[in-house]
């Protein structure tokens, strides 16, 4: 019996009984049954957000990205342009005093990573001043994973999901001029002084010339939990072994993939390395606001070295099929109360689900480009 047949015969049965009873003294109780059932269904639909069409849900967030940047079949809703990399992380064991996570025990674990540029357009041209992204997946020997998605700004420019969403539209180019409407952004900044502060900090750091000499920041705070259950607030960053070179505004030369091409050439020359630096927060340091930096004097621990020695086009699928959800964490690393974290996890998941079911368009950085 199909569920539909079953439902229909059930409804027939109940309604024929109902009709017989409707004419009798049971009508009140019958109506009561209907009210109770509607109430139960309503309570569940309420939980599912059906009566609150204005609330920002993961699906509406994803719709916002698609409205702002367009729909590109098979790509991430944000940080759509990228290449896959792989290598390993060698832990020196110094992280074990802060966290019991297996990743910090001395030894080497395999890494799958992805360098990316922000925005929903996977064919966007590389620009000198653009933000660089790095997603990493640490594959731990016991089957656990640690995933993180970082960018090369020391703080984030918003501190709530709603502000991220509002800023997305405030920064949207006007279809007439092709440029963002300065009035919209000004209005956004008036109501978001934390963004103004964060932008000052971001702009005071000179932009690096490429992916290979970028310092990548985890942005949100997390808790490291040690073997005896003691929690320490931390932030992490990947500091490059490659020397810093400031971005050259004349470097683009009209080459749409020049940042990726430079990364590919440099990985082909020699493995690229970063140090995983853990910054230890003090009780006074905010753990729920990604726009506020912690003081420079905070203790930092170098817990190991990331080596990336292979690069592949996204068309090879090695990283395209991975959701760099920042809340895929091993035991020993726990999320802070930063509202961006749960929202990132929810929206990344929504983005992953959408692109998983879509036909894949070819990546801007093609397999032949990577082999050059």
């Amino acid at each position: 019996m199909t569920p539909d047949n079953f439902g229909i015969s059930y409804i027939c049965l109940v309604s024929s009984g109902a009709l017989k009873l409707a004419a009798t003294r049971h009508f009140g109780r019958l109506a009561g049954t209907g009210v109770v059932l509607l109430g139960a269904a309503g309570a569940f639909l309420y939980l599912g957000g059906w009566f609150n069409p204005e609330a920002l849900t993961p699906a509406r967030f994803a719709d916002g990205f698609e409205r702002a940047d367009g729909i590109y079949s098979g790509f991430r809703l944000n940080h759509a342009k990228g290449v896959c990399v792989s290598g390993s992380f060698e832990s020196n064991g110094r992280g074990t005093r802060l966290s019991k996570a297996v990743v910090f025990k001395p030894g080497r674990v395999p890494i799958i990573g992805r360098f990316s540029l922000p925005g929903g357009n996977p064919y966007v041209a590389d620009e000198p001043e653009t933000v660089h992204g790095l997603g990493l997946l640490f594959k731990l020997p016991d089957g656990e994973e640690w995933r993180t998605a970082m960018i090369d700004t020391p703080v984030f420019n918003v501190n709530t999901p709603q502000a991220f969403y509002d800023r997305l539209f405030a920064a949207q180019p006007d279809p007439k001029t092709g440029k963002p409407d300065p009035e919209k952004m000004a209005a956004f900044l008036v109501s978001h002084p934390e963004t103004v502060q964060a932008m000052k900090i971001i702009q005071s750091h000179p932009a690096p010339s490429g992916f290979d000499n970028s310092t990548f920041y985890g942005l949100n705070a997390f808790w490291f939990v040690d073997g005896s259950g003691i929690s320490t607030p931390v932030r992490w960053s990947m500091v490059p072994e490659q020397p810093f070179v400031a971005a050259d505004t004349a470097a683009a030369h009209g080459d749409k993939n020049y940042l990726f091409d430079a990364l590919i050439a440099s990985i082909h020359q020699h493995p690229l390395q970063w140090h995983l630096i853990i910054t230890i927060g003090q009780p006074s340091d905010p753990t729920n606001d990604a726009t506020i930096p912690w003081p420079d004097a905070r203790e930092q621990v170098d817990v190991g070295t990331l080596t990336l020695d292979r690069v592949e086009s996204e068309d090879a699928d090695s990283c395209r099929v991975i959701n760099f959800d920042p809340l895929v964490l091993p035991e020993g690393i726990a999320p802070s109360a930063d509202p961006l974290l749960s929202a990132r996890s929810a929206v990344y998941s929504q983005s992953f689900t959408r692109r998983a079911g879509e036909k894949k368009l070819p990546s801007a950085v093609t397999p032949s480009e990577v082999q050059k």
Binding site: L47, P339, A356
Partner: protein, 185 residues
């Protein structure tokens, strides 16, 4: 107390009633969490962290419950139920069992196909049961939603039928599965 066959067992066994109400509480909690989780940015992570282990607990519980049901004596149907209604009740029971076993397996399968680590508690996690295939993930993820709504509707129909019998017809249907002991008289 009379020991005639008609009155000796009016209720489901204590073990069956225990399993029924435990499953009911867990599944209703699960459906609520599932619905709220896909609509929430702020509570998404906290809810999904409960959703995964609770789903596996339900799968284990329902399998045990199904085995227990096969080896238990059921009370007879009430005379107020027509043969047609009895066959629908039996079919809906089977359908609920099927949904309650398939739904957690689809959840486990879709996380396997997406190669998410299937974390339960601490470092405890499940092994993948399907190959890494994101298209398969997309199909199963959709099936998980469809099955959740189907499960909700089936539970609602079950609840409606019991309410109709017990409250409108007053035939004592509810007392058969009541969590407390109901004496025959």
């Amino acid at each position: 107390v009379s020991m005639s066959p008609a009155t000796e067992q009016r209720q489901f066994t204590v073990r069956m009633r225990f399993f029924h109400w435990l499953t009911a509480a867990m599944v209703l909690t699960m459906l609520g969490i599932g619905l709220a989780m896909v609509a929430s940015l702020a509570y998404y992570h906290r809810l999904i962290s409960i959703h995964r282990p609770l789903g596996i607990l339900i799968l284990i519980l329902v399998v045990i419950r199904f085995i227990n049901r096969r080896y238990s004596t059921l009370p007879p149907f009430l005379p107020t139920m027509s043969p047609r209604e009895r066959s629908i009740a039996s079919a809906s029971e089977l359908f609920l069992y099927a949904l309650l076993i398939v739904q957690p397996l689809v959840g486990w399968g879709m996380l396997s196909a997406a190669r998410y680590p299937i974390m339960l508690h601490g470092s405890l996690h499940l092994f993948p049961i399907l190959p890494h295939n994101v298209m398969l993930y997309a199909v199963l993820r959709r099936a998980h939603t469809v099955l959740a709504y189907l499960l909700s509707l089936t539970i609602l129909a079950h609840f409606g039928a019991v309410l109709f019998h017990s409250w409108v017809m007053r035939d004592g249907t509810f007392s058969r599965m009541a969590p407390w002991r109901v004496r025959a008289h």
